[in-house]
């Protein structure tokens, strides 16, 4: 354990442990400067639309942003875990290779847990926004985000159908 710790610590400090580009998070995933620039632009537009479509005051905007950032961080962990689980599941279910039933069972159980946790986060976020936003504003926010998440889901589905990556 001690050797491992020091080795890991040293490599970590040097930033030399198997550099994992963003693209490694999922096949077809968007690393690179262009993708990051687009991501930033989309984030900025989303934040702007939340403010304008909901008609937020400056004070409301700050509070809403704080809450949304906090929940986005938590969703980020779940998203990353689900990507890992999907990769592992795909690895187990490769054609021509016998899957390990116990592993598959664990992966499926954990994946569903993660998805439930994801929905619970959205629910909890809406609860925390209740004292800040009116019911109409909450509805607008829900629809705005739904529109984006639905499109993202479509893109992932397209990717899966086109077989561009092993991870849908």
């Amino acid at each position: 354990m001690k050797h491992r710790t020091w080795l890991t610590l040293t490599l970590s400090a040097l930033g030399w442990t198997a550099p994992v580009p963003l693209t490694a998070q999922a096949p077809g995933a968007g690393g690179g400067v262009r993708a990051e620039r687009l991501r930033q632009e989309l984030e900025a537009r989303f934040a702007q639309q939340v403010k304008t479509e909901l008609g937020l005051s400056d004070e409301q905007a700050v509070k809403v942003r704080d809450i949304m950032e906090d929940f986005a961080r938590r969703r980020r962990h779940l998203e990353a875990e689900e990507r890992r689980l999907r990769q592992a599941l795909h690895a187990q279910l490769r054609p021509g290779i016998a899957a390990n039933p116990d592993s598959v069972s664990r992966l499926v159980d954990r994946t569903t847990e993660v998805r439930v946790a994801y929905v619970q986060l959205l629910q909890e976020e809406m609860k925390q926004l209740t004292p800040i936003l009116t019911p109409v504003q909450r509805g607008q926010l829900l629809l705005l985000r739904d529109r984006i998440l639905q499109r993202i889901q479509e893109l992932r589905e397209q990717r899966r159908v086109q077989g561009r990556g092993t991870v849908p």
Partner: protein, 169 residues
């Protein structure tokens, strides 16, 4: 692979924001003092030199180290082998620090540094081409109200009644 080694292997990536802990990982870290201590060490290690990065001129350091090495080769050899090794180790350490600092510097080359504050982590696994298509559902703010198309505030009472009648059929 055991839970311990699994977490240990991923610690550097998480420390550099290239990976993240799952809920299960966090639970384990909360319950295992060994792993928690290891994670604390890794995290601290990954931040070493963070304060220096603004002041360190990587190019200058590299040039200085190269020059010094050249001089060392031309100069008479040090008497004590231990001192030679120490000089080499110091030079290597300087290069390593320079390289490491370049790798951890946030900026355009390190996209995750920006993504930490993002509101839409769901964008992270999308390619640039896929991201492009999302502009359809997130048009620019000025495109939402195109110039030349009047908003309701520009209409008279009669106009508004007319619009209402149209909407009501």
């Amino acid at each position: 692979m055991t839970e311990l080694s699994h977490l240990s292997d991923r610690m550097p990536a998480v420390a550099h924001a290239r990976d993240s802990w799952s809920a299960e990982d966090l639970r384990h870290l909360a319950s295992c003092s060994d792993c928690r201590a290891e994670w604390k060490l890794v995290l601290t290690g990954s931040r070493l030199g963070g304060e220096l990065e603004r002041e360190l001129d990587v190019g200058a350091v590299t040039a200085a180290v190269t020059t010094r090495l050249r001089e060392a080769r031309q100069a008479p050899r040090l008497r004590f082998p231990a001192l030679r090794w120490a000089a080499l180790a110091a030079a290597a350490a300087a290069i390593v620090v320079a390289v490491a600092l370049r790798q951890v510097t946030p900026g355009p080359g390190n996209p995750t540094a920006v993504s930490q504050q993002a509101l839409l982590p769901e964008l992270e696994d999308l390619s640039a081409d896929e991201l492009e298509t999302l502009f359809e559902v997130l048009p620019a703010a000025d495109a939402l109200l195109e110039p030349g198309i009047p908003g309701f505030e520009d209409l008279t009472e009669d106009d508004l009644k007319s619009v209402l009648r149209t909407l009501e059929g």
